[in-house]
Symmetry: C2
Subunit: 224 residues, 2 copies
DNA sequence: TCTTGCCGAAGTGTTGACAGTTATACGGGC
DNA sequence: GCCCGTATAACTGTCAACACTTCGGCAAGA
């Protein structure tokens, strides 16, 4: 009973709105107007409503009854919260993958990682996605590869800089994969949590320097 | 800018459908029919669609384009996945609460816990909710108190038995609260993960005994 | 009897109009 | 100029009808 992969207007509009948000055409905190979007995508307001609700369900849009929906602000504090959650879930994800993935699958992941690293390709999100798939836990996969995935993409698109150190990320990923290979779930989880915890700490530093910078002068109102 | 707490038809229908599912009027795996529900709640199909989509977003309903939506099956394997995720997130939740909650708030939680235990009240979900609130992490709170909360409620309503041992749960909660009081985030997290990990293991046992029971004879088709 | 194909019924997806709520603009008074 | 009240415009929530897809029943053929 595998249904055909139908694509409804809601799916198309969802992707379209997410793209507008990614590109900043609807800025962070900006208004999401159903009627305008319906005109833009040449559909009725119904599918737009449903797409907006779906984006709301992924934490990308804030919506209250009768009020104009808004794109989430994605403050640094918000990102700290997301990374704390992600640390816990990615830790469990790699623990389960260490236990559940076959030797062959782990070897293949290691080989692809080594291959991509030689080519200087961006593989950071892919490794996490692959581990989540290997965890065999559909709920964890759904959370990491759906809701948190969109939030991370948005954060990276809007902030430019990655909350992590690109120079050591390769080494940390490698160590995680090695721990998986040796079937040490405790070590794998600990390494993954440290890996993400460092990014969280980096965000914390930004948050602190931001509040110190703001303290001596009047908080500058954002134009948008 | 706190909007009034408006309640739309979608909210009402969401609660109504969830209630039908809780009571088994729509059984696990059962069909969710928009037109029938619209008649039942005396609304148009629009709000029903939106409510169904919202329930889908919480993992309670499975839906593909043009196919009839269905209530999730909530198999034991599914519950194991949910509890594994919950273990990770509740662990991080109590870690953050141990760090972030004020002494006064922790004392109050301890006092309320002791009070409720004398009265033999059901406080299990409340403690977890309170800890999530105390974590100060809105994403964790949202996940534990929204999506996972509904799934847990549904599981308990449909399965009757709690995946846990009521006799030792009090003691385990108490130890967790004590670890919070002494400001030991590592211990608090470890205790919480053990607490939920035991429930997960109980589910695993059920899953194993289920598959052993099914192995020697033809798998009995469920009537529903 | 079993299998396949066709057609109509049952259901889902979308539309445009109406109903209800919030936001904005304008005028009057202080 | 500022504040308040009112009216209207702009928006969100809902409705009923139409468009499109799936499902089930029946008939025909092997």
């Amino acid at each position: 009973m595998a249904p055909k992969q139908q694509k409804t207007l809601v799916d198309t509009v969802f992707d379209g709105i997410f793209d507008l948000i990614l590109k900043g055409e609807i800025p962070l905190g900006g208004v999401v107007n159903e009627a305008v979007l319906a005109e833009r995508f040449k559909v009725s307001r119904g599918p737009v409503r449903e797409a907006v609700k779906a984006l709301q369900g992924r934490g990308l849009i804030i919506k209250e009854p009768y009020y104009k929906a808004r794109v989430v602000d994605l403050s640094l504090a918000d990102m700290v919260h997301i990374f704390q959650l992600r640390e816990a879930v990615e830790g469990m994800s790699v623990r389960l993958a260490t236990i559940n993935m076959s030797d062959q699958a782990i070897d293949q992941l290691l080989a692809e990682f080594a291959d991509a690293s030689e080519k200087q390709q961006r593989i950071v999100l892919d490794v996490h996605v692959r581990i989540a798939e290997g965890s065999g836990n559909r709920r964890i996969q759904s959370l990491l590869c759906d809701e948190l995935y969109y939030l991370l993409r948005l954060y990276r698109a809007r902030s430019g800089a990655q909350p992590g150190r690109r120079d050591t990320a390769f080494s940390e990923h490698w160590q995680i994969l090695r721990a998986m290979k040796t079937r040490d779930p405790d070590l794998a989880e600990s390494l993954m949590r440290s890996h993400i915890g460092r990014a969280t700490e980096g965000l914390h530093q930004l948050l602190r320097s931001e509040s110190e910078k703001a303290a001596p002068v009047r908080r500058q109102k954002q134009v948008g």
